[in-house]
């Protein structure tokens, strides 16, 4: 497949490369990162370019790798009036996302209590297969969660009012309708609220390393004052509730596509016109799952605050445990973007990709209106993560989108062959990173060597100017599912 340079760290696959491509595919990567991308990225991003109503190009971010349907790191926008919506462009873990909290604590203050802290977090935040959630909700309350998202938690006392000001969409996406959610999805998700999950989901205590602040002004605006400051990062999604909604609608779309005259190159890209009854029903159900994911992260935030308060014997407010931001990875949202000089409503799919709206853009919280939306790039549990901000150029180049993490280079099976979980955790502990894992083999799958170099990914985002790097973070303790 022909991959042509189209700018600094931008590569293009022309529509002539595969029958059915309506637009080119664009990949954002350095030469080294491009070389690391597996065959699936090229196959899948060009498949996305075949979908009806796609605008301008099918995009893949520098953390891209083989997914299902879309590649991980995939972004595509479809006209709301004539385009489609596809569960395979969002993923089963709807609104899998990240949240980061600052603290007023330093590493010097946390290190002596770190073992106690991570043990308490591991015990307070259920993780792994079969974990039961923090709350036992009634059916009625769960339906409110679907519509109100994190706002429901705050109203019920599981959070601070100002938390909502620091989330994508204030922790609640509009358009959710429980009427389009199956009883099966409800019964699957009802007892899972406040659980971490497994795979690449985690809760991590991080520190700003000595050379970690890249832009002091932007860092201060995010509440990061100096190296040594401790932060808490969280990665999880909508759990079985979202997985079931995606399963229900993937199955339904697979059956209705012929009726809409749609053919797709990969069955996982099953889709329906956004304005069709099926498309609208899925959007309403998917949004309900997205809101449950915000609530999930909010409940875990509540537990994190409780644990910190108990371990340090101080009120979480006094510990400065405020939310910096909460971003979605796996969503489709209706956004207004300029296309060839015309403002259009687009259904922007981001799968393993993050929104990165620039300064002054709608839905960027007041606190960040001048600097752009905070972006959280989650790395491996061994290497580190990063905070960035969105840019005006991202609005023009990528529908205000950026990467979501380091991105895998090695399969889970290969990682497990290379190291045993126990060995990895022991080795990490000797390097000052404590890990508590529900599954030791699962931890081995998440070893740092299974991921790309996060600094290389962040550098590409900065060079292409779709996000600006602000702070690098290093892990000191991690809870894995």
């Amino acid at each position: 497949m022909k991959v042509i340079p189209a700018g600094d760290c931008i590569w293009e696959i022309p529509p002539t490369e595969k029958p059915g491509m309506r637009v080119p595919a664009r990949i954002y990567a350095s030469e080294a990162l491009l070389a690391q991308m597996d065959q699936g990225v090229f196959e899948q991003v060009t498949n996305v370019a075949c979908l009806p109503g796609i605008v301008r190009a099918a995009l893949c971010m520098p953390d891209g790798h083989w997914g299902y349907g879309f590649p991980i790191g995939g972004v595509a926008a479809f006209r709301a009036d004539t385009g489609v919506i596809s569960p395979g462009g969002i993923g089963f873990d709807i609104n899998c996302g990240m949240r980061v909290l600052r603290t007023g604590l330093t590493e010097a203050e946390v290190r002596p209590r770190l073992r106690e802290l991570i043990d308490a977090l591991f015990s307070a935040v259920p993780s792994g297969v079969g974990a039961k959630g923090i709350l036992r909700l009634s059916d009625t309350a769960f339906r409110r969660v679907m519509v109100e998202g994190a706002g429901w938690c705050v109203a019920e006392g599981y959070g601070w009012r100002e938390d909502l000001e620091h989330m994508e969409g204030r922790g609640c996406l509009p358009g959710a309708d429980p009427a389009h959610v199956s009883e099966r999805a409800v019964s699957r998700g009802l007892e899972q609220l406040g659980t971490l999950g497994s795979g690449n989901h985690y809760l991590e205590i991080q520190v700003v390393p000595p050379d970690g602040i890249h832009d002091e002004r932007l860092a201060r605006a995010l509440g990061i004052e100096a190296p040594g400051q401790v932060l808490v990062m969280l990665h999880c999604g909508s759990r079985g509730f979202g997985h079931q909604i995606a399963t229900d609608y993937l199955r339904r779309f697979d059956e209705v596509m012929p009726r809409h005259g749609i053919k797709v190159p990969d069955r996982e890209l099953a889709c329906a016109p956004f304005r069709s009854p099926e498309g609208q029903a899925y959007f309403a159900a998917m949004t309900a799952a997205a809101n449950s994911a915000f609530a999930n992260r909010q409940l875990i935030t509540h537990r994190i605050r409780e644990v910190f308060g108990k371990v340090f014997g101080r009120d979480p407010h006094a510990l400065g445990l405020s939310v910096i931001y909460d971003v979605c990875h796996n969503t489709a949202k209706v956004e207004r973007h300029r296309v060839d000089g015309e403002w259009l409503d687009l259904v922007v799919h981001r799968k393993g990709a993050t929104r990165a709206f620039g300064p002054g853009a709608p839905d960027v919280p007041e606190a960040y209106r001048d600097i752009g939306q905070p972006v959280i790039i989650g790395g491996s549990m061994e290497t580190g993560s990063a905070l960035l901000v969105g840019t005006a150029h991202a609005m023009e180049e990528t529908w205000g989108s950026t990467a979501h993490g380091a991105g895998r280079t090695m399969s889970r099976a290969q990682a497990k062959k290379r190291i045993r979980g126990e060995t990895l955790l022991k080795d990490m502990e000797s390097r000052g990173i404590l890990v508590r894992a529900a599954s030791k083999s699962g931890a081995a799958e998440e070893a740092g060597f299974a991921y790309k170099d996060i600094d290389a990914v962040v550098d590409v985002l900065h060079r292409v100017d779709i996000s600006r790097k602000v702070v690098s973070l290093k892990p000191i303790a991690n809870v894995k599912g």
């Binding site: 699936g40 089963f92 079969g130 795979g199 690449n200 997985h243 993937l250 099953a270």
Partner: protein
């Protein structure tokens, strides 16, 4: 007796499986065993629960999809995994499945946990008859 292997080069963040069975019933039973082994160490699950499952689908591959999806659903809703299954697939239109499941609750104190499977994808999904029996390829979202 069926066989299953992980296809390491496909869908690196997830789990691609190739499953083979001497018969269609064997294929479905082997797939259930594979899913159980991906989620937990079956040796650490006490067989205390019996369930029955009935499914109907318009095509054999969709019946297979629904069967795997059902096992993942039960893992979340009831926190149960199944170490043994007896499956009977009726090869008529529509395709029907009747299964008896034997397993137990996931108990974090005693069950060795592995991956929390999210869903069955349709990426490169295939169920086909071979000269030796039946074969399926499926990518499970992790």
């Amino acid at each position: 007796m069926g066989r299953w292997t992980v296809l390491e080069e496909i869908a690196v963040a997830d789990c691609a499986l190739e499953i083979e069975g001497d018969s269609l019933d064997d294929l479905f039973e082997t797939a259930a065993r594979a899913l159980c082994e991906l989620m937990v160490d079956p040796a650490t699950v006490a067989p205390t629960v019996e369930r029955t499952v009935s499914l109907v689908a318009g095509a054999v591959d969709l019946l297979f999809y629904d069967w795997l999806s059902e096992l993942i659903f039960l893992k979340d809703r009831d926190r149960e995994v199944f170490i043994r299954t007896q499956v009977r697939v009726t090869t008529a239109s529509p395709w029907r499945l009747a299964a008896r499941l034997e397993g137990g609750s996931i108990d974090p104190e005693h069950t060795a946990l592995r991956a929390d499977l999210k869903a069955v994808t349709l990426h490169r999904f295939a169920v086909e008859e071979t000269g030796m029996g039946w074969r399926a390829r499926v990518v499970i979202d992790i």
